[in-house]
């Protein structure tokens, strides 16, 4: 039945990634990190503020046809430190992993300091050390504490 198909589409994906245990309210930022705005045509489902024993409220994101790169996982870990990542192939979870806080994120964030050499046309990637409650540019030492997704490098 059509209704069942709809149900199935929302709850199960054939190939892709399910990100669970995202800090409540951060799902749209997670999509931003993954560069997903719906224009590619792949199906994306988002559940926000679902009850969670561990987190109180959690968000879940399911993305058809996409597996996360290490860079994406690194930034993800900064805004959703409790997230778990499930890689799905042929409707089966083939890999399950918790995110880990990296010591460094490279080539994903753009330094907000316009006078930082990493924002120039030089052959280097941006590099940020992960500090207590934010990230810090390895070149100019500017600290980003809030709204990390706003600093994601445009592709």
């Amino acid at each position: 039945m059509t209704d069942d198909d709809q149900q199935l589409r929302v709850s199960k994906i054939r190939n892709g990634t399910v990100i669970d245990h995202i800090t409540g309210g951060q799902a749209l930022n997670v999509l931003a990190i993954l560069g997903i705005d719906g224009t590619s045509g792949d199906s994306v489902s988002v559940a926000m503020n679902m009850p969670s024993d561990r987190l109180g409220k959690k968000d879940i994101v399911k993305v058809e046809g996409k597996e996360l790169s290490q860079n994406e996982v690194d930034v993800l870990s900064l805004i959703a430190p409790a997230a778990s990542i499930n890689i799905v192939r042929d409707f089966e979870v083939v890999e399950k992993a918790r995110v880990e806080r990296p010591s460094m994120v490279e080539g994903v964030l753009e330094c907000p300091n316009h006078n930082c050499i990493s924002t120039e046309d030089e052959p280097v990637k941006s590099r940020f050390a992960v500090v207590d409650d934010g990230v810090r540019c390895e070149y100019c030492e500017t600290i980003i504490r809030d709204n990390l997704p706003a600093h994601i490098l445009a592709e």
Partner: protein
């Protein structure tokens, strides 16, 4: 000391700092002994913004060690003007020289440049970032005049934008100095610097008036408050005026207070202080030569 490049005073441990200052003291005591030490050595100077004083100091230091300099010249006359990246420029110039000195208007430029070269690179100022040889000559001057034991220092002026101040404050955590920061509220230390000082376990004592701490200071480090930090002339005059000192201001100070300034000054230290025992800013500027000689000598020896 084992460092390939000198990018930030933060990379230097207390032992590193003491080693450079000790060596500088040896050189200052007997400069003749070092006059031929680096004969034939070439120091490449890349100054992407004018800083005549720093450039002269490095030039003097290299020549006093028996070596010479090769100078990129002004940016207007170089290939940088044609859009060459800094990474390419330093990779070309490292072929001409045994060590490089870089001054560049952007933060992080020396750090990045050092990732592309094998010869030692010394940061001579990267925008609002670091200027480690200034910090070392400041430390040398402080040690010579006041010593590091139980040191009480007041740093006054533009603490928000003054990179000299940021670097010095961080370095002083190595010697557990009692640091007082004296500035208008709008020019207090920025967040990243506070973060670092807290990480090093230093207490940040802030004051809006010099009177509050002057009597207990061994060193008063004065910096310039710039006109462009204020929306209008009258506000600038009013605020900056509160952070100018003259011999009258210093009546409440210890007799052996050391007054320092990275120079150039405009009117923040009155000329009537110049002839007093307090005035140490010209000596401070001169100390740049033995300190840079010491640093270059150690870097070149380590990388031979």
């Amino acid at each position: 000391m084992r460092h390939d490049h000198i990018i930030s005073a933060k990379q230097l441990s207390r032992a590193d700092i003491e080693a450079v200052l000790d060596h500088a003291a040896d050189i200052a005591a007997d400069p003749e002994a070092y006059a031929e030490r680096h004969a034939g050595t070439l120091l490449g100077l890349l100054f992407f913004e004018p800083s005549t004083r720093t450039k002269m100091s490095f030039t003097t230091a290299m020549k006093r060690l028996g070596g010479d300099i090769v100078d990129m010249g002004s940016v207007e006359s170089s290939s940088v003007k044609k859009g060459e990246s800094l990474a390419d420029t330093v990779r070309v110039v490292e072929g001409y020289a045994d060590a490089l000195v870089l001054r560049h208007p952007m933060e992080g430029s020396s750090k990045m440049a050092s990732e592309f070269v094998d010869v030692p690179l010394v940061n001579a100022g990267d925008g609002a970032g670091q200027h480690p040889t200034q910090t070392l000559l400041d430390l040398y001057t402080i040690r010579e005049n006041a010593g590091f034991d139980d040191l009480s220092i007041g740093i006054m002026g533009d603490l928000k934008y003054g990179r000299t101040v940021h670097s010095l404050a961080h370095a002083l955590t190595n010697v557990d100095a009692h640091q007082h920061f004296i500035s208008p509220e709008s020019l207090q230390l920025p967040r990243s610097v506070r973060y670092d000082l807290h990480q090093e376990g230093a207490e940040v004592r802030e004051h809006t008036e010099l009177d509050e701490v002057l009597p207990e200071l061994d060193v008063l480090y004065v910096t310039r408050i710039q006109r462009e930090r204020f929306p209008d002339e009258s506000e600038y005059r009013e605020v900056a005026g509160q952070y100018q000192i003259d011999s009258e201001t210093l009546a409440a100070a210890k007799d052996d207070l050391t007054v320092m300034h990275p120079l150039p000054r405009v009117d923040e230290i009155a000329h009537d202080i110049d002839d007093t025992e307090y005035a140490t800013y010209f000596e401070q500027a001169h100390n740049g030569v033995p300190v840079r000689m010491a640093l270059l000598d150690m870097l070149l020896e380590a990388n031979e």
